[in-house]
C-alpha cells in the first residue's frame, strides 16, 4: 500500500530544529560585527564557485576564528579573470544563510498527515539503500534515475553508474541548452562548449539573438563583451525586449516574438544573394551550400519583414554589418534555447549563419577550445545497464545524446511506458525540480508514483518538500569536489578546497556517495577515506599536487593544438562528411528537415500576453532567492508591462496582480507590476526563480511569482526532446483569486 506523498513544506517541523541552532546562529550576526577585519590577518584556500555553472575559480578568505570574510576571483582563471560576478561575491550568503538544511530528514506519516523528522545519516542511508535494493530486486537498478545539476552530481553519478542505472539526467539539457548541443554537433561536429568558445574579446561584431548578455551574468562573457565595447566592436541585439545589452547595441531589432527563424533565414539570404559570405571558407570547409542557396532564395528581407516586423533595410544593414566584420563576427549560440519546439532547427540556422560568415575557428569568431583530461581514479568497471530512458522512447527524439529530464518525468508516471521500464526511484541532487521543470502537474503526478525520492540540497528548496529522504549538503566553501577542467582558450584546471568545516550535520556529496555506496555494498567504487586523496592522486598524475594547487588555485597548461584555423587550412570536422554540414543529410535520414524552415507559432489570444522570462545578474534563478546578500539587491521579481497595456488594464506601478495562463492556472502569489517602455505590448517579462512556496525559505517565501507554474504548455522538439517553454500566455487578475 502506498502512502500518498504530500508536499511537506518543511515548516511543519515546527520546532525550528532544522535550522541552525541558536549558538550557530551567530554566524549570520557576524556579518554585522564591528570587527575591523581590514586589518586582521586573513588566510585563504582556493575554490571554484558553485553559485552558477560558470564555476569561476577564486579564493575564500577567512580569519583566525575560521570565519569566512569574502570570496574573490583568481587572477589566473580564464573563467573570471580575477573578478567574481555579484553572485560569486555574494556567495558567502549561501554559507551564512540561517535557513540552510542542517540535518538529514526522513518523511513519516502521522495520523493522516505527513511530516519530516530529523534522522542520523546512518538511518537515512539505510532507508535509501534498502529501497534501492528493493527496486533493483523487483525490477532492476535501471529503473532509478539520478537528476542532477552542479558538482554534487559528479559524485552521485559514480554511485548510480555503479548501482547499474543509465538514467542520469540534467535539466540543463532539455530544459535549457540541449537544442544547441545537437544542432552544433550536426553542423560543426561539436557543441559550442560551456563556457562557450566565443572569442568575444576580439570580435568586431557580436550578434545576440535570444541572449541577454549582461542580464545573464555569464561572467567571462560579460567581461569580454565589455572589452569588446572598449575596442569599438558593434553589437546587434535581436530581442522583443529592450534588454541591457540592447541599450549598448549599434542595432537593436525589436523583433516580434516567435519569429526569430525568419530573421535568421533572411540574413542568410542577404549574405548569399549579395555575395557577402566568406566564399573561400565556405568552399574549403562546408558542404551543402548550393542546397542552402536554393532553400533561402525566397526568404528575402521583405518576406521576413512581414513576419518579424523588422524592416527590410534594417535586415540588410545588419547582415552587411556582420559581413563587414567577418570573420571576427560571432552569432552567439545563446544558452537557454528551448523556446518553441523547433529549437534544434533554429539553432541550426544560427550555426549555418556562423558557418557562411566563416567565424568558426577564426579569431574574433569561435576559437577552438582545448582542455586537459583529468585521469580517472581507478575503480571497478560498472555493469552496463540493460535498458534506459532511450529504450522506452522507442526511437522518439533520435538525436537526444543526453536524457531529457522531462522524459524521465514522463517515464515515471504509471501507464505512460511499459511497467518494465517505468522509473520508480529518483535521486535529485542540486536542482529544484518544481521550479526548474515546466508542466508542474506532470512532476507532481510522477512523484506520487515513485517508490523512492531522495533530494540532496543545501537549502530547503521546494523539491525537498516532496522527498522521502532529504540529505543536507554543505556549501561549496566547506568541501572538496572534483577537479574543474573546462576546455577554454588554454587548458586549465581548478580545485575546490574547503575553507571551513561543514556546518551542522551537513556533509559533502563525496562523503555521502561513499557512505551510501558502502550501505549498498558498492564501497569498492569509492576507495578513499577523504576525497582529497583522489584529488592528490589525480593532480600528481598531471604533474602537479594538491599542495601546489592549494597555493595557486588554477593551473594552466600549454595548448597542443592550434586555437584558430591556419590560413587555408582544411580542418577535419567531427561530422559524417568531415566538413561543416550546412545541409544535414543525417537529419534528412531521420525524417527531419535537412535545412531550417520557418514555422508560424501560436500568438497570444485577446487579453493575454506572451510570457517571457529571463535572468537578473544578481541571481542564479531560485538557487539564490534566499541568499541574504543577494536578496538585499533583489528580493522579488517584477512583471514588466508596457504602458499601453497598463492603461488598458488600469494598472498602477507596483500594483500586485495574479497571473492566469491559457490553461486556467493561477499563480500562487501575486507579482508587482513594473510599467516600462522596455517591453513590447504583446508580451510581459519576469525574472525566473521567484515565487517560492516553501515557508522555510524565510526570505524567498511568497516574494514575486513563479513563472514555471505558468508554463503548463510546452512544445516538444521532436529531434531531441527539449521542452519549448515560450508558448504560454498570461492575463492579469487584479484581485486575489483565493
Amino acid at each position: 500500500m502506498k502512502t500518498r506523498r504530500d508536499f511537506i513544506k518543511i515548516s511543519s517541523l515546527g520546532l525550528g530544529v532544522a535550522t541552525l541552532s541558536a549558538s550557530k546562529l551567530n554566524l549570520f550576526e557576524s556579518l554585522k560585527s564591528e570587527e575591523d577585519h581590514e586589518t586582521e590577518k586573513l588566510f585563504r584556500q582556493p575554490t571554484y564557485c558553485e553559485i552558477c555553472f560558470w564555476k569561476c575559480a577564486g579564493w575564500t578568505y577567512f580569519n583566525e576564528k575560521k570565519k569566512i570574510i569574502k570570496v574573490i576571483g583568481n587572477d589566473k582563471d580564464q573563467h573570471s579573470n580575477g573578478r567574481f560576478c555579484p553572485r560569486g561575491t555574494g556567495g558567502i550568503g549561501a554559507y551564512y544563510d540561517e535557513d540552510r538544511l542542517t540535518k538529514p530528514l526522513i518523511r513519516e506519516g502521522k495520523a493522516g498527515s505527513q511530516t519530516f523528522r530529523e534522522a542520523s545519516w546512518d538511518e537515512a542511508f539505510t532507508v535509501i539503500a534498502d529501497k534501492l535494493k528493493k527496486i533493483a530486486a523487483e525490477s532492476g537498478p535501471e529503473n532509478v534515475a539520478l537528476i542532477k545539476h552542479g558538482s554534487a552530481g559528479d559524485h552521485f553519478k559514480t554511485l548510480f553508474q555503479a548501482y547499474g542505472t543509465g538514467n542520469i539526467s540534467a535539466p540543463s539539457y532539455a530544459q535549457c541548452r540541449g537544442p544547441r548541443v545537437e544542432s552544433f554537433k550536426l553542423t560543426f561536429g561539436e557543441d559550442p562548449g560551456s563556457p562557450e568558445q566565443t572569442d568575444i574579446r576580439d570580435t568586431k561584431c557580436l550578434v545576440l539573438i535570444g541572449s541577454h548578455l549582461g542580464e545573464n551574468m555569464h561572467n567571462g562573457q560579460v567581461q569580454e563583451m565589455a572589452m569588446a565595447i572598449d575596442k569599438g566592436a558593434s553589437i546587434i541585439t535581436v530581442d522583443p525586449r529592450y534588454s541591457t545589452v540592447a541599450s549598448k547595441s549599434k542595432f537593436w531589432l525589436p523583433i516580434k516574438p516567435a519569429t526569430d527563424m525568419a530573421l535568421l533565414l533572411a540574413w542568410i539570404n542577404v549574405l548569399i544573394e549579395e555575395e557577402l559570405y566568406d566564399k573561400q571558407y565556405v568552399e574549403d570547409n562546408t558542404i551543402g551550400f548550393e542546397k542552402l542557396r536554393h532553400h533561402v532564395k525566397r526568404m528575402t528581407p521583405e518576406w521576413a519583414y512581414g513576419i518579424t516586423t523588422i524592416k527590410p533595410d534594417v535586415i540588410r544593414k545588419t547582415a552587411r554589418e556582420m559581413a563587414n566584420a567577418a570573420p571576427a563576427v560571432i552569432v552567439h549560440p545563446g544558452r537557454h534555447v528551448a523556446w518553441y519546439g523547433d529549437d534544434v532547427q533554429r539553432s541550426r540556422a544560427v550555426g549555418i549563419l556562423n558557418a557562411i560568415l566563416g567565424s568558426w575557428g577564426r579569431k574574433g569568431g569561435y576559437f577552438l577550445r582545448e582542455g586537459i583530461s583529468v585521469p580517472k581514479f581507478p575503480i571497478p568497471k560498472a555493469n552496463k545497464p540493460r535498458w534506459n530512458w532511450k529504450t522506452a522512447l522507442n526511437g522518439q527524439f533520435p538525436l537526444a545524446s543526453q536524457s531529457p529530464t522531462n522524459v524521465i518525468v514522463e517515464q515515471s508516471i504509471k501507464g505512460n511506458v511499459d511497467e518494465k521500464y517505468r522509473i520508480r526511484g529518483w535521486f535529485v541532487a542540486g536542482t529544484n525540480l518544481p521550479l526548474t521543470l515546466p508542466e508542474t502537474d506532470k512532476f507532481e503526478k510522477a512523484v506520487q508514483d515513485l517508490d523512492l525520492f531522495v533530494a540532496v540540497d543545501t537549502m530547503p528548496m521546494e523539491v525537498t518538500g516532496y522527498a522521502d529522504v532529504v540529505l543536507p549538503e554543505c556549501t561549496y566553501l566547506e568541501r572538496y569536489d572534483t577537479i574543474r577542467s573546462s576546455p577554454h582558450r588554454e587548458p586549465n584546471i581548478a580545485v575546490r578546497v574547503p575553507a571551513v568545516e561543514p556546518l551542522g550535520d551537513t556533509k559533502p556529496a563525496s562523503w555521502m556517495a561513499k557512505e551510501l555506496a558502502k550501505k549498498m555494498g558498492l564501497g569498492e567504487f569509492f576507495p578513499y577515506e577523504d576525497y582529497s586523496e583522489v584529488l592528490d592522486w589525480q593532480l600528481k598524475k598531471m604533474g602537479s599536487s594538491l599542495d601546489e594547487m592549494k597555493r595557486i588555485g588554477v593551473k594552466t597548461f600549454p595548448r597542443k593544438t592550434p586555437i584558430y584555423f591556419a590560413e587555408g587550412e582544411k580542418y577535419r570536422f567531427k561530422t559524417p562528411s568531415g566538413k561543416i554540414e550546412l545541409y544535414s543529410e543525417r537529419m534528412k535520414q531521420l525524417g527531419f528537415s535537412p535545412l531550417p524552415e520557418y514555422t508560424k507559432h501560436e500568438e497570444p489570444p485577446q487579453g493575454f500576453y506572451r510570457l517571457n522570462y529571463g535572468r537578473a545578474p544578481m541571481h542564479s534563478f531560485g538557487r539564490t532567492s534566499n541568499n541574504p546578500n543577494l536578496t538585499d539587491l533583489m528580493s522579488e521579481n517584477f512583471l514588466w508591462v508596457n504602458p499601453k497595456v497598463a492603461s488598458i488594464w488600469g494598472l498602477k506601478s507596483n500594483q500586485k496582480v495574479w497571473l492566469k495562463n491559457q490553461d486556467g492556472i493561477v499563480s500562487d502569489f501575486p507579482i508587482k507590476v513594473r510599467i516600462t517602455e522596455r517591453i513590447r505590448w504583446d508580451s510581459v517579462y519576469m525574472v525566473h526563480g521567484f515565487g517560492h512556496n516553501n515557508k522555510k525559505l524565510k526570505r524567498a517565501f511568497g516574494n514575486g511569482a513563479n513563472d514555471s507554474q505558468m508554463i503548463s504548455k510546452v512544445l516538444i522538439d521532436p529531434i531531441m526532446g527539449a521542452t519549448g517553454m515560450r508558448v504560454n500566455f498570461v492575463t492579469f487578475l487584479k484581485n486575489d483569486p483565493a
Binding site: 536578496t631 538585499d632 539587491l633 533583489m634 528580493s635 513594473r674 510599467i675 516600462t676 517602455e677
Partner: protein, 313 residues
C-alpha cells in the same frame, strides 16, 4: 516616458522611498525654540524700552514658558539624535559654517538666562519663596541690578534663536523647498508671533492686549507676505523648486498647508483679532491658542514637506 529606478534594491530606512530622517521631535523643537525666542525677545524689548520699570505680571507669567519650552525642546532634540551618547561633542567645537553649531551654542547660553529670568520672578507663583542660600540671593541681586544690560544679550540671543532655525533649513540647498533665504525671516516672524500669542494669553490689561493684538496682526500679515514671496520665487525658479511649490498647490501637502497653516493658523486669528479690536467682547485666549497651533503646524509642514522634495530621481 521617463523611468528612473533602483536596480540594486536600495531601501535605506528613513531615506527610501522618501527622505524622512527628521521626525516629529524636530518640528516640536523648532516650535518650542521659536516660541521661547519670541517671548524672551518681547520681554527684553520691554525692559529696554521702559527703563527702570518692573515687568508687568503678564510678562512675568509668560517668562515661565521659555525654560520649560527650551528644556522640552532640548529633550525632543536629544530624542532625535541617533548617536546620543556622543552628543557632548556638540560643545567641543564651534563650527561657524554650521547653523546647527550656532544653534547648539545659542541654546547653551540662552537656556540658563531664561531659567535665571524666570527664577528671578518666582515670587509671582510662590509668594513665600525664599532663596535660602546667600550666594543664590547674590546671583539674583546681580541679575536684577544689571537686567538693563543683560537684556541686550538676551535680545541678541533670542533673535539668533528665532532666526537660526530658518537659516538652518535654508542652508540645505539639496532640499528644494528649503532652498530659499526667506525661511529665516519666516521662522523669526513666526517665533515672534508665537511670543506675542503667549503674551496675549497671559495679559489682563486691555491696553497691553491691544498693543499685542496689533503687533500680532502685523506679524500675520508679514508672514503671509513672506509665504507669498516664497511661492512666487519657487514658481519662477527651476524645475525642482517648481515641484516643491506644487506640493502645496495641488500636491500631497495642499490640504495640510492651507487648512492648518494658513486658514487656522493665520487667517482665522487675523479675522478674530480684527473683530476683537472693534468689539472686544470675547476672550482672546482662543486666538492665542490658534496662533500657537498654526505655528507648530507650520513647522511640521515645512519639515515634512521639505524632506519630500528632492533633487535627483
Amino acid at each position: 516616458m521617463k523611468e528612473e529606478l533602483f536596480v540594486s534594491g536600495r531601501n535605506l530606512p528613513n531615506i527610501d522611498p522618501q527622505l524622512h530622517v527628521w521626525h516629529w521631535p524636530i518640528p516640536v523643537y523648532l516650535f518650542l525654540g521659536g516660541l521661547s525666542a519670541g517671548i524672551l525677545f518681547f520681554a527684553a524689548l520691554y525692559v529696554i524700552k521702559n527703563k527702570g520699570k518692573d515687568l508687568p505680571d503678564s510678562y512675568k507669567k509668560a517668562l515661565f514658558v521659555p525654560p520649560v519650552a527650551l528644556v522640552l525642546g532640548l529633550i525632543a532634540l536629544l530624542f532625535d539624535l541617533t548617536h546620543l551618547f556622543y552628543s557632548w561633542r556638540l560643545f567641543t567645537t564651534i563650527r561657524l559654517e554650521s547653523p546647527m553649531s550656532w544653534g547648539a551654542w545659542t541654546l547653551l547660553t540662552i537656556t540658563p538666562l531664561a531659567f535665571l529670568w524666570a527664577a528671578s520672578n518666582i515670587k509671582l507663583l510662590f509668594p513665600q519663596w525664599d532663596w535660602k542660600y546667600d550666594w543664590i540671593k547674590a546671583i539674583f541681586k546681580f541679575w536684577n541690578e544689571n537686567l538693563k544690560y543683560i537684556v541686550w544679550l538676551v535680545i541678541l540671543l533670542s533673535v539668533i534663536l528665532g532666526i537660526y532655525t530658518g537659516i538652518l533649513l535654508s542652508a540645505f540647498n539639496a532640499r528644494p523647498l528649503w532652498n530659499t533665504s526667506i525661511l529665516g525671516p519666516l521662522f523669526l516672524s513666526s517665533a515672534l508671533s508665537g511670543g506675542a500669542a503667549v503674551l496675549i494669553f497671559f495679559s489682563n490689561n486691555e491696553e497691553e492686549k491691544k498693543i499685542f493684538v496689533k503687533l500680532s496682526m502685523l506679524l500675520i500679515v508679514i508672514e503671509g507676505f513672506l509665504f507669498t514671496h516664497m511661492f512666487m520665487g519657487f514658481l519662477a525658479s527651476n524645475q525642482v523648486q517648481l515641484e516643491a511649490a506644487e506640493m502645496f498647490l495641488g500636491g500631497d501637502y495642499t490640504i495640510h498647508f492651507w487648512i492648518f497653516d494658513v486658514i487656522v493658523g493665520l487667517i482665522i486669528p487675523l479675522v478674530l483679532e480684527l473683530i476683537w479690536l472693534r468689539k472686544q467682547n470675547f476672550s482672546l485666549k482662543i486666538v492665542a491658542l490658534l496662533l500657537l497651533f498654526g505655528g507648530i503646524m507650520m513647522r511640521f509642514t515645512m519639515v515634512h514637506a521639505g524632506q519630500a522634495a528632492r533633487y535627483l530621481y
